[in-house]
C-alpha cells in the first residue's frame, strides 16, 4: 500500500503542522516543532523516536489530552479541535506509564466500564467482549481483580479495555513495556489477528523494534519534534541495506600460491578485514559498487580456493532507526 499523503481520501488520521511548546517556570521545552503525517484506514503503523522526541505529546495531542499550540488534526475527516466529542468517539488508547485500569475491579468490570463510558454496552456486545478475552487469552482471568494479575495480564487488560470501545482508531503507547517474552509474543499475535480481522487503524509506539517490525508495515520516526522518516519498513530497510559481505574460503590441496592470497586480497580490496586460520580464510568486506564482489570472487577463483559461504549482513529496523536518528542529530555512526 503506498503511503497516504495529506488530503488523500484514504487518510483516516491526518496530522498537519503540529507544534507544542511546554512553558515551565524555568524554561521552555519545544516538544513538537513540526509534525505532519497521515495514517490510512486499516493501517498498523509504528510510531518511533528516541526519548523526548515528542511521540507521547503527539499522541496525546491527537487524543485531546494535550492542547497543541498550532496545527490541525483530523480523524475520519472530523476536526479534533472543532468537534472533540465526535473525534473522541473514534479513538481509544493505552497510554504509557499509566495503569489505564482500575485495579480493584475485575478484568470484565474494567472492560464493561471503559466500553460503557464510550457508549458501548457490554450486554449487547457480549460476544465481542468474549472474542477479545479469547484473542488476548484472558478468559480465565475475567473475574479476577486486576490487582491480582501479573504485569503481562494487566497490560493485556488495558489493551482489552481500549479495544472493547470498538473505535476505528487505537493508539498503543508502549504496549509491551515490562512484558516477558511470552506475553509480548502473545500480545503481538493478538494485535496482528485483530488488525487483519477487524481492519482497525492502529498506531503502535514502542522502543522495542522487534515489536514494530513484527506487527507494523510502516513506520513514522520522529526526532527532536520533527518527522525524520515516514516509509514502509521494507523501503526503509532497503535504504540501509549494506553491501557488506562475509566470505569464508577453505584452503585446499589445489590452491595456487597460498602464501600470497592474503596479500593479494589486502592490496586489491583495501577495506577488507581478513582473518586467517590454518584451514580457512575469513574475509569481511564492504563494497560501494555492487559489481565489486565479482572482482573478489574472480581473485579467489584465480587462487583456486573453495568458497565455503558468502553471507550478506542483514540490516534490521533497530539499526535503520539508530542510523536515521544519528544522522538527524549529526552524530557519526
Amino acid at each position: 500500500m503506498p503511503n497516504p499523503r495529506y488530503g488523500d481520501s484514504s487518510c483516516y488520521l491526518e496530522v498537519q503542522g503540529l507544534r507544542k511548546t511546554f512553558i515551565g517556570r524555568k524554561r521552555k521545552v519545544e516538544a513538537i516543532k513540526d509534525i505532519s503525517f497521515c495514517v490510512a484506514q486499516g493501517e498498523m503503523i509504528g510510531f518511533l523516536g528516541p526519548n523526548g522526541a515528542g511521540k507521547t505529546t503527539t499522541i496525546k495531542s491527537v487524543l485531546g489530552l494535550v492542547r497543541p499550540d498550532s496545527g490541525t488534526i483530523t480523524v475520519d475527516g472530523i476536526d479534533c479541535a472543532g468537534n472533540p466529542r465526535e473525534a473522541a468517539k473514534r479513538m481509544a488508547a493505552v497510554l504509557e506509564g499509566a495503569r489505564n485500569t482500575y485495579w480493584r475491579l475485575t478484568v470484565w468490570e474494567n472492560m464493561q466500564f471503559f466500553a460503557g463510558i464510550h457508549g458501548v454496552c457490554a450486554a449487547k456486545d457480549k460476544e465481542y467482549f468474549e472474542y477479545l478475552l479469547e484473542t488476548l487469552r484472558l478468559q480465565d482471568k475475567r473475574n479476577t481483580e486486576v490487582r491480582n494479575l501479573s504485569s503481562g495480564y494487566k497490560q493485556k487488560t488495558a489493551v482489552a479495555c481500549a479495544l472493547a470501545k470498538k473505535t476505528p482508531l487505537v493508539f498503543l503507547d508502549e504496549p509491551t513495556l515490562g512484558l516477558d517474552v511470552e506475553s509480548s509474543y502473545e500480545l503481538r499475535a493478538a494485535l496482528k489477528r485483530l488488525q487483519s480481522e477487524e481492519q482497525r487503524t492502529i498506531v503502535v509506539s514502542s522502543h522495542d523494534m522487534n515489536v514494530i517490525q513484527d506487527v507494523c508495515n510502516r513506520v513514522i520516526i520522529i526526532s527532536n519534534g520533527r518527522v525524520v522518516a515516514d516509509d514502509s519498513i521494507d523501503d526503509l530497510l532497503s535504504l540501509f541495506r549494506t553491501r557488506n559481505y562475509k566470505i569464508v574460503v577453505s584452503k585446499n590441496a589445489y590452491m595456487q600460491h597460498p602464501e600470497s592470497l592474503v596479500t593479494e586480497i589486502s592490496q586489491g580490496f583495501s577495506q577488507a578485514d581478513i582473518n586467517e586460520t590454518p584451514d580457512t580464510v575469513e574475509i569481511a568486506v564492504g563494497f560501494t559498487n555492487p559489481f565489486e564482489i565479482y572482482d573478489l570472487i574472480k581473485t579467489l577463483s584465480d587462487f583456486r580456493v573453495a568458497i565455503e559461504s558468502i553471507t550478506q549482513e542483514q540490516v534490521d529496523l533497530e539499526k535503520a532507526f539508530l542510523e536515521i536518528v544519528r544522522r538527524e542529530n549529526g552524530v557519526c555512526g
Partner: protein, 257 residues
C-alpha cells in the same frame, strides 16, 4: 451513549464502594465518634461558650451540613487527585461524554450513598444524645440535594486545582475546617453571611429538623437565596473546572502526578 455511560459510571462507582467497604464503615464510625466528642465537649463547657449557630441545635444541623459538604466536595476533588495518581484520569478524559459529566454521573450516585451514610450517622447521633429530630423527608431532601450541589460546586473548584497541582490534600484540610467557620458567622452581626455557600442550607435544616418547620412554610426569601446560591456555586465551580481543564491540557498536566 449518555445512558450507557451513566449506567457504566453508576455500576463502577457502586462496585468500588463495595470493594472499599471498610473505608465506608470506618467513615461512619469516625464521623459518629467526632460528633460525640464535640457534643459532649460543648455540653461540658456550656453551649454558650461556642457559638455553633447559637445552640446545641446548631451543632446538630451544622454537623449534618458539614458532613454533606465534606462528602460532596471530597467526592470530586479527591477523585481527581486519586485518578491522576492511579493513572486512570487520562482514560476518563478519552470518553466522548467528557470528564465533567462522568464526575457528575458518579457524583449523583455518591450523593445517594452519602445520604445513606449520613442517615446512619444521624441515627447514631440521635440515639446516643437523646436529641429529638423532626425527620420530614420531603422537606429535608431538597435541602440535602441543594447543599450537596453547592458542595459539588466547591468540589469542582478544588478538583480544578487538583488537576493543575495534584497534591493539594493539605489544602483540602484547610477547606474542611474553613467550612465550619462559615457556620459560625452570626447573621445578626454579618447579614451578608446568609449569601455564603452552605450557611442558608444549615439554617433551613435547623428550621426543619429542630423546629419541625415544613419547607413550604420557610420564608420565601430564604428559599430564593438558597436556590440562587446553589445554582451559582455549581455554575461557578463547573466554569472554573473547565478553565482548569483547559490550562491543564495546555500545560500537559493531565497525566502527571
Amino acid at each position: 451513549m449518555w445512558l450507557i455511560a451513566l449506567k457504566a459510571s453508576w455500576r463502577q462507582t457502586f462496585t468500588l464502594q463495595i470493594r472499599y467497604l471498610f473505608n465506608f464503615l470506618s467513615a461512619i464510625i469516625t464521623m459518629s465518634l467526632v460528633f460525640l466528642l464535640m457534643f459532649y465537649g460543648v455540653r461540658a463547657v456550656g453551649a454558650g461558650a461556642l457559638d455553633l449557630g447559637g445552640t446545641l441545635d446548631g451543632l446538630f444541623t451544622g454537623y449534618i451540613v458539614w458532613m454533606i459538604v465534606l462528602n460532596g466536595y471530597q467526592d470530586l476533588a479527591f477523585n481527581v487527585a486519586t485518578e491522576a495518581q492511579t493513572g486512570t484520569l487520562e482514560q476518563l478524559y478519552l470518553s466522548p461524554v467528557g470528564y465533567k459529566w462522568l464526575a457528575f454521573f458518579s457524583g449523583s450516585l455518591n450523593a445517594l450513598i452519602s445520604l445513606a451514610m449520613i442517615s446512619v450517622i444521624t441515627a447514631i447521633m440521635v440515639l446516643t444524645t437523646g436529641q429529638e429530630l423532626h425527620l420530614d423527608i420531603l422537606s429535608i431532601l431538597p435541602v440535602y440535594i441543594g447543599v450537596y450541589i453547592q458542595a459539588y460546586g466547591l468540589g469542582f473548584v478544588l478538583g480544578g486545582l487538583a488537576l493543575m497541582f495534584k497534591r493539594i490534600q493539605s489544602f483540602f484540610q484547610v477547606v474542611t475546617f474553613g467550612v465550619i467557620g462559615l457556620f459560625m458567622i452570626p447573621w445578626s452581626k454579618y447579614p451578608w453571611a446568609k449569601y455564603l455557600p452552605f450557611t442558608m442550607g444549615q439554617h433551613l435544616l435547623q428550621e426543619i429538623m429542630m423546629k419541625g418547620m415544613k419547607l413550604t412554610k420557610v420564608q420565601g426569601g430564604h428559599l430564593a437565596v438558597f436556590a440562587v446560591v446553589t445554582v451559582a456555586c455549581f455554575v461557578v465551580g463547573w466554569g472554573l473546572f473547565a478553565l482548569a481543564e483547559k490550562k491543564a491540557k495546555s500545560m500537559g498536566l493531565l497525566g502527571q502526578y
